[in-house]
C-alpha cells in the first residue's frame, strides 16, 4: 500500500462545552478506502467528533490525525483533500443549487463534472429555485454534492440521509458505494442502523461520548449474544424434550402465549432438530423465522436504551 497511515486516527478524544462533556475519551481508526459509520443516538458526541476531524473544533484532550495531519494545525493543507457535508445549511439563501455547486467546484483544482453530479443526485429539478425555497431533501442532496465535487480523498458526511425520502436515500447510498469503489474514504454519522448495515465496512457505536463497540456490521451482530428462531404454535407446549435434543447452551421457551423462541447458535442442524421435534409432536410451527441480531439489538444490549433517541 502506498498510504501507510489510516485515513483518520482518534485516540482518547475529549471535548467539553462548559461543564458538559460531549466527547469523553473516544477512540477510533478509519482505514483508507473504507466506509466507516459512526452510529449512535442524538447527543452521543458524533457531530462533535466529526467537527474536530474537520478542524471546526479544537480537542480538549487526546489526539486526532486526519490523513496523517493534525486538523487543528494543518487545516490549510487538509481542506482541499477533505470533503465536508454539514448536517444543515451552508449555502447562501439566495443561491441556486447548481450555482453554488459550480462555485465550490471553482475553488478546487480538478473538480468533478458539475452536470454529471447534478444528474446523479437529481438536482436538475431545483432549476432556478433559490436555496431557501428548496425542499429539505434537495438541500441535503446539494450538501452531499458540495462535499464530493472537489474530488476529495476523504469525505465526512454528517447524517447524510436524515429527512430523505426512500428514493433519495437510495441515491445517496448508491453514491457512497461508488465513492468507495473509486477509492474515496467515507466517514458518515447516522442513527439509522439499516444505513450502517448497508453501507459500512466498519461501524463504531458511540454512546455518551465514547465508542462502546466497533467492528464490521456482521461481526457486531454475531458477537456476544446469539441469534434466535421464532415460531408460533398451540399455547402451553412442553418443550422439555426439545431442549434435551438441542446442542448445549441453546434454550427454548414460550415468550408469550403461543409464541416460542429458540436461542442459540442457529444453524441448519438446530433448525432440523426443532422441526423434527415439531413433526414428532404434531405441531405446525407457524411463522417460523430465523432472526439475525440487528445493530439496534446490539445497541440495546450494550446500553439498555433505544438507539433512536
Amino acid at each position: 500500500m502506498d498510504s501507510p497511515q489510516p485515513a483518520v486516527e482518534i485516540v482518547g478524544l475529549v471535548k467539553t462545552y462548559g461543564d458538559k462533556t460531549a466527547v469523553d475519551g473516544l477512540g477510533l481508526t478509519v482505514e483508507r478506502g473504507s466506509v466507516t459509520a459512526v452510529l449512535g443516538p442524538n447527543g452521543a458526541g458524533k457531530t462533535t467528533t466529526i467537527e474536530v476531524c474537520e478542524g471546526y473544533r479544537r480537542a480538549d484532550g487526546g489526539t486526532v490525525r486526519v490523513l496523517g495531519l493534525d486538523p487543528a494545525v494543518d487545516g490549510e493543507r487538509l481542506r482541499p483533500r477533505v470533503g465536508v457535508m454539514l448536517q444543515s445549511g451552508g449555502v447562501y439563501a439566495g443561491a441556486r443549487a447548481e450555482e453554488m455547486l459550480r462555485h465550490v467546484a471553482k475553488l478546487h483544482a480538478n473538480p468533478l463534472d458539475v452536470p454529471m453530479l447534478v444528474e446523479r443526485l437529481g438536482l436538475g429539478s431545483c432549476g432556478r429555485t433559490t436555496y431557501r425555497r428548496l425542499s429539505g431533501g434537495q438541500q441535503q442532496r446539494l450538501a452531499l454534492a458540495l462535499a464530493v465535487v472537489g474530488r476529495p480523498e476523504l469525505v465526512f458526511l454528517d447524517e447524510p440521509t436524515a429527512g430523505l425520502d426512500p428514493q433519495a436515500r437510495r441515491a445517496t447510498w448508491d453514491l457512497v458505494g461508488d465513492l468507495r469503489a473509486d477509492g474515496v474514504t467515507v466517514v458518515l454519522t447516522t442513527h439509522f442502523m439499516d444505513e450502517a448495515e448497508q453501507l459500512a465496512d466498519d461501524v463504531h457505536i458511540v454512546d455518551r461520548g465514547r465508542v462502546i463497540a466497533s467492528g464490521s456490521p456482521e461481526a457486531l451482530c454475531r458477537d456476544g449474544a446469539e441469534n434466535s428462531l421464532r415460531f408460533a404454535g398451540p399455547p402451553g407446549l412442553d418443550l422439555t424434550a426439545m431442549v434435551a435434543a438441542l446442542p448445549e447452551g441453546a434454550k427454548a421457551f414460550e415468550v408469550a402465549r403461543g409464541s416460542y423462541r429458540v436461542e442459540g447458535d442457529i444453524d441448519p442442524q438446530l433448525l432440523a432438530t426443532v422441526t423434527s421435534w415439531c413433526a414428532q409432536h404434531g405441531v405446525m410451527p407457524e411463522k417460523l423465522t430465523v432472526e439475525r441480531r440487528t445493530l439496534e439489538d446490539v445497541f440495546l444490549e450494550l446500553t439498555g436504551r433505544e438507539l433512536r433517541a
Partner: protein, 260 residues
C-alpha cells in the same frame, strides 16, 4: 492498487488563490445584487433622497452661496452609499451567512478565511463603484458642479469603506443575525438623520454637533463636502477620524468575530 480511473477517483487540490478570490467576489456580488432588500438600501434609497431633496425644498441645507441644493446633497449621498453597502448591507448579509452556516461551510473549502474577507471587500467595492457611478450620473443631470481633487474623494471613500466594514463585520460576527438586522437598519436611519448626510450638522445644538462630528458618517460626508462642494484639497481631520474608526472597528472585528 487499482489503476483504472473512476468518476470519483480522488484528485484533490485547491484552485489558484487569485481564481478562488475572484470567484468568491463574483458570487458575493451576485448574491447582493439579487437581494431586493439590499438593493432598496443601497440603490433605491440614496437615489430617491438625492432626487427628492434636490428638487423639493423640504430640508434646509444651509447657506448655499449661489450653489445648488444638489451641490450640498450629492457628497452626502456618496457617503450614504458607502454607509449602506459597507456597513448595513455587509453586516446583514454576513450576519445571516454566519447564522445559516455559509461561513462555516466555506471554511471547509480551500478558500482561506482571509481570502473570503478579501472577496467580501471586493464585493463591497464593486457595489460602491456602481452606486457612485449611478449617483454621480443623477447628480450631474440635476446640475451638480463638483470641485476638488478626485484622488482625495477616492481616499475618503476608501477610508469610509474600511471604517464601516470594520463596524459592520464586528456587528455581524458577534450578534445574532436578527439583532444585526435590526441594529444595522436602526444605525442606518440614525446616521442618515444625524450624520450630516441630508441635514447640516450646524442645525444641531453645539454640544450635540460636536459629538456627531466624530461619527464616521459625519466625517465622511463632511470630508466629501469639503472637497466636492468647497474645493478643499484634503480634509485631514475628517480622514483622521475615519482612520481611527477603521482601526478600531477592524481591530475589534478581527478579535471578536465568531464564524458560527
Amino acid at each position: 492498487m487499482t489503476t483504472t480511473t473512476g468518476t470519483f477517483t480522488p484528485d484533490p487540490g485547491a484552485a489558484p488563490l487569485g481564481r478562488m478570490i475572484a470567484a468568491q467576489t463574483a458570487l458575493e456580488t451576485k448574491m447582493l445584487l439579487r437581494n431586493g432588500e439590499q438593493l432598496l438600501l443601497t440603490v433605491v434609497i440614496p437615489t430617491l433622497l438625492l432626487v427628492l431633496f434636490s428638487a423639493v425644498d423640504v430640508v434646509d441645507v444651509g447657506e448655499l452661496h449661489g450653489q445648488k441644493r444638489v451641490d450640498f446633497l450629492a457628497p452626502g449621498m456618496l457617503a450614504l452609499a458607502v454607509l449602506s453597502t459597507a456597513f448595513t448591507g455587509q453586516a446583514i448579509a454576513t450576519g445571516f451567512e454566519r447564522r445559516y452556516g455559509v461561513l462555516k461551510r466555506l471554511g471547509a473549502t480551500p478558500l482561506p478565511r482571509w481570502g473570503l474577507m478579501v472577496a467580501k471587500t471586493g464585493c463591497v467595492l464593486v457595489v460602491e463603484a456602481l452606486q457612485v457611478a449611478l449617483l454621480t450620473a443623477i447628480a450631474f443631470s440635476l446640475g451638480w458642479s463638483p470641485h476638488g481633487n478626485p484622488l482625495a474623494v477616492v481616499l475618503l471613500l476608501v477610508l469610509g469603506t474600511a471604517a464601516f466594514s470594520g463596524l459592520g463585520l464586528l456587528m455581524a460576527g458577534t450578534l445574532r443575525a436578527e439583532a444585526t438586522l435590526a441594529a444595522a437598519n436602526l444605525v442606518f436611519v440614525l446616521l442618515l438623520v444625524g450624520g450630516g448626510v441630508i441635514v447640516p450638522l450646524d442645525k444641531f445644538p453645539g454640544g450635540v454637533e460636536a459629538v456627531l462630528n466624530l461619527t464616521p458618517i459625519a466625517a465622511l460626508s463632511d470630508g466629501l463636502r469639503d472637497v466636492l462642494q468647497h474645493g478643499a484639497s484634503m480634509p485631514w481631520a475628517d480622514a483622521g477620524i475615519l482612520v481611527v474608526w477603521a482601526v478600531l472597528g477592524l481591530g475589534l472585528a478581527a478579535r471578536f468575530f465568531r464564524w458560527e
